[in-house]
């Protein structure tokens, strides 16, 4: 994003709305720190700038800065996956896609969420550790497209300098592997300079019970009382 200094009245309204904390006032004019700006477009689309001083950065859709835009502005569509947002359809369509099957766990590590944002340097710490543990990343997740080497979990060099609102490390494992992979995640989290939200997807038992509950208990991990539940009303169109 850009702010036209000549137009800016210095009212400071845009400062409140910026999720990246990238806008500050200098000499009574708003200024954007390009390193902190996540290209989420909130300042342009939501802040009602009285002077119309907030403008789109012409580089916002040019690689590698475009990575910020695609991973931060949910209104930007990924041209490869046709899926908006930062991830895949995950549990949303699992009744139709069977992405996570019986006996499996879909794991989503959403880097930077909530509030902190993430660099791809931090993302790479996680992807490399998991690749070392034999993880195969979800092919349709936009993050996987940014990997230099999917087997090693390395991220393209010019992408690593970019910061985003969040990026989701997504993969599926068998339920028997859950303990080993969780301990790998717990090991690497100490090296991060940001937060992440951890999500897990499983199919439900016939009686509606959650098959990984016991394993999570053994790991000392509690799940929240609220969840996202796929009701199973979807069907494939032949």
């Amino acid at each position: 994003m850009l702010i036209e200094k000549d137009s800016c009245s210095g009212c400071g309204l845009c400062l409140w709305y910026c999720p990246g904390g990238a806008i500050s006032l200098k000499d009574k004019k708003a200024e954007i720190d390009k390193e902190l700006c996540l290209e989420c477009y909130v300042c342009l689309k939501v802040t009602d700038c009285p002077k119309g001083a907030i403008k789109e950065d012409p580089m916002a859709y040019e690689f590698p800065r475009s990575v910020r835009t695609y991973f931060s502005d949910p209104m930007a569509y990924h041209k490869d996956t046709l899926v908006p947002g930062r991830g895949t359809e995950e549990v949303k369509t699992n009744d139709v896609t069977n992405r996570v099957k019986d006996g499996e766990v879909g794991v989503c590590i959403e880097m930077g969420r909530p509030c902190c944002g993430s660099s791809f340097t931090d993302v790479e710490k996680v992807t490399m550790a998991l690749a070392g543990a034999g993880i195969k990343f979800e092919q349709e997740n936009p993050l996987t497209y940014l990997m230099e080497d999917k087997e090693k979990g390395t991220i393209k060099e010019d992408v690593k300098k970019q910061r985003v609102v969040s990026a989701i490390v997504e993969f599926t494992i068998s339920q028997s592997e859950l303990k080993r992979i969780v301990s790998k995640i717990q090991e690497i989290e100490k090296e991060l300079d940001t937060v992440f939200s951890l999500g897990m997807i499983t199919t439900l038992e016939e009686d509606g019970s959650i098959p990984i509950k016991e394993t999570l208990d053994e790991l000392g991990l509690e799940y929240r009382p609220n969840a996202k539940i796929n009701l199973g009303l979807g069907r494939r169109i032949s």
């Binding site: 400062l15 409140w16 709305y17 910026c18 999720p19 904390g21 989420c40 909130v42 689309k45 939501v46 931060s72 949910p74 209104m75 569509y77 996956t81 046709l82 908006p84 895949t88 359809e89 995950e90 549990v91 369509t93 699992n94 009744d95 139709v96 896609t97 996570v100 879909g106 959403e110 969420r113 909530p114 509030c115 902190c116 609102v165 969040s166 991060l192 940001t194 937060v195 992440f196 939200s197 951890l198 999500g199 997807i201 439900l204 509606g208 999570l216 991990l221 799940y223 929240r224 009382p225 609220n226 969840a227 996202k228 539940i229 796929n230 009701l231 199973g232 009303l233 069907r235 494939r236």
Partner: protein, 208 residues
């Protein structure tokens, strides 16, 4: 993207907070789904959600209407909205089941409530996405009371500074709860920010 999954707050504060997503699967059953979603949106309008939005035109607090959302549905359309009533969600899910659209439906809410609703409607839920909490440098997070408001926009569009400013204005009596909740809702493009829940959370902040 798991944008409706990571809402924070007590069980009490999460009652009557249901996010509904209706998603035709890309390359499986998304073709020609637009007209069906328009029909579903007509029914949602009758029920009256607390908020609704789309990536193409924003949410109702930034000027979107259900008609606009219908007109601007993309080729891979989705419906996203939030209700503050168990009964309304139940009526919607019942309707979706009876009309046999075949599109995937997720309800984000308290697990016990969604499972009870499913049982009442003779539905067997297929899968669940569990939230296993926040990890890493958690000391960087804002205080929990503000986080409960911030996490109602799962895409991280609601900034901590906006919530802090709004809470301060409410505490000083400059803004009433309604004005404050609607202001925080604006950046949440897909309209899953529950303003009714936000008002209750802001009220609790004042009480504290």
């Amino acid at each position: 993207m798991t944008h409706s999954l990571y809402r924070r707050g007590s069980v009490e504060s999460l009652q009557n907070d249901f996010v509904i997503l209706i998603t035709p699967a890309v390359n499986i059953n998304h073709k020609n789904s637009k007209s069906k979603l328009i029909e579903i949106l007509d029914f949602i309008k009758e029920l009256g959600p607390v908020n609704i939005g789309s990536y193409d035109c924003g949410n109702i607090f930034t000027g979107a209407t259900i008609e606009k959302i219908q007109q601007t549905l993309s080729e891979t359309p989705r419906v996203r909205c939030v209700f503050d009533s168990y009964e309304k969600v139940k009526r919607l899910v019942k309707e979706l089941k009876e009309r046999e659209y075949g599109y995937s439906v997720t309800v984000s809410g308290l697990i016990d409530d969604v499972m009870m609703m499913s049982k009442e409607l003779d539905i067997k839920p297929h899968s669940v996405n569990l939230s296993i909490g926040i990890h890493g440098r958690v000391e960087k997070l804002p205080e929990e009371g503000n986080l409960n408001l911030i996490t109602m926009c799962g895409h991280g569009m609601v900034s901590a500074s906006l919530v802090k400013m709004v809470v301060e204005r409410v505490n000083k009596g400059v803004w009433d709860l309604d004005r404050a909740a609607k202001e925080i809702a604006k950046p949440c493009h897909c309209g899953i920010f529950n303003v009714e829940r936000a008002k209750k959370l802001l009220q609790q902040n004042i009480s504290r």
